[in-house]
């Protein structure tokens, strides 16, 4: 597949929906093109995981004191 094909998600900018434009812009910032098929996978993943990420940002965790000396082989020291 050529770079130009990678750069396209199957249509011109005007044809893209908001998600495709946002994803495309994000990926361009990373210098990472995506094909239409790859964008479809990204869209599917986002439909599943975005609610969980939103839940993570809405979770009441700001008051949690970060663990000191994190070591996954042992229980927390504090």
């Amino acid at each position: 597949m050529s770079a130009s094909q990678h750069d396209s998600d199957g249509g011109s900018g005007a044809d893209k929906d908001a998600f495709a434009r946002l994803a495309d812009a994000n990926l361009r910032l990373l210098g990472l093109p995506a094909s239409a098929e790859e964008l479809a996978v990204i869209r599917g993943a986002d439909a599943l995981y975005r609610p969980l990420v939103d839940r993570l940002f809405a979770a009441d965790v700001d008051e949690i004191e970060p663990e000191s000396a994190f070591d996954p082989s042992r229980p927390p020291l504090d």
Binding site: E38, I42, V53, F70, P72
Partner: protein, 450 residues
Amino acid sequence: MSLLDQTLRDQAAAIASGEVDPAELLDAAHERIGERNPDLNAIVETFPERSRDMLASAPRGPLYGVPVAIKDEWPLPWRGERLGAAQFLGGSPEAGESGPYRVLRDAGAVIVGVANMHEYGAGSTGHISAWGAAHNPWDLERCPGGSSSGPGSAVAGRLVAGAVGADGIGSIRYPAAYCGIIGLKPTFGRSAMEGHHLPQTQTIVSGPLCHDAADCRLLASVLFGEPLAAGEAGGLRIALVPGVLWDDCDPEVREACQEAVRALVDEVAESSSEEELPDPYLVAISSVLLGSTEELGIAGPREVASLGEQVSLIARGLLRYRLMLPAAAIARAKLVRTQVRRSLARIFQRVDVLAWPTVPAAAPRLENPTVELPSGSWPADYVNPRHGGIANLTGVPAISVPVGHTAEGLPIGLQLLAAWGRDDVLLDAAEALERATERRFVDAAPPVPA
């Protein structure tokens, strides 16, 4: 019955007593792989000369002469790991003496083959691999689980009695549950890990997949480099975690696991109780985010951009998606991790073992790896980390024990978790569960492929 159908212990004892010639057992293992592997695709590479060389120089260790398999995640002196992928991320695979190879060799074991895995270890089903999917011996149209798909399929299919897998977000326990065998995710840092392609990992461990708990104890002792003494599990304090981990399961899975917990309580428990944990969905997304973050060093934009079409479309899309997620989510996932670790530390002062189903539904179809739950139809990869991710997020050990079959004959697994360093308690509890169920499920063998 062939010795290959028996346990690691039986095979080791038969060799040690002189009853069996280990060279003949090795030949038989190759013959068995030749017969059954075309259906299972559990083993992706054999190397008979290398295996014979291992046997010729094998020390008289606890696994002297016993054939085993190792996941395609570990380098061997004659073969670099491929991670079930057509294109390696972050350089080239290099042959070498990985930790699991070294401890197997030093125990006298003979590596008879490399076992399949889900591409890049990034799936709980095993339905995607550059080697082609491994198949579930209980139903060849079903997923064997992942990412240690080959170890699960190879042990359940009696190609070998034991295999070494790796578990980063449940990757030993899911195939154990789907394939009706036992799989132990050790306490973080306890099992051999040298030579892994993610040396900085804080979530991944090597671990055993075997027919029963005593074999798991034997192979875990080898991987840990220290004996794991057996106890009676008497006076065990068991707790359930009510809520979504039990309620949002296929009813057959829920009922079989409930029955198993009742049997375990009757067999050995001093008490049973209920405990609360933080939101399982937060635990799941935190374990996925932190686990996948460990790969960013080798899966940055440049590496992902270099992936060709020989890599699956799913992997190419998901690796891109991972790079789009906000970095701030990682900081919050670490706070969730702290919350859950503190919560587990408090709980394990009161109880010895927590229990819930290893996976919410039995093995899905390879062609459509989705599961039907009370909450709806979901990709198995989406719901399984809700059950398995907590052990990797926090570092505690966890085990999957076969406890039943669905009406369609598919295995069901119960997961037990214990405190850091108490892998022995899990093995004791699993053995007690085997006694309580009269070994019906650990001794059950899938239909032999034609």
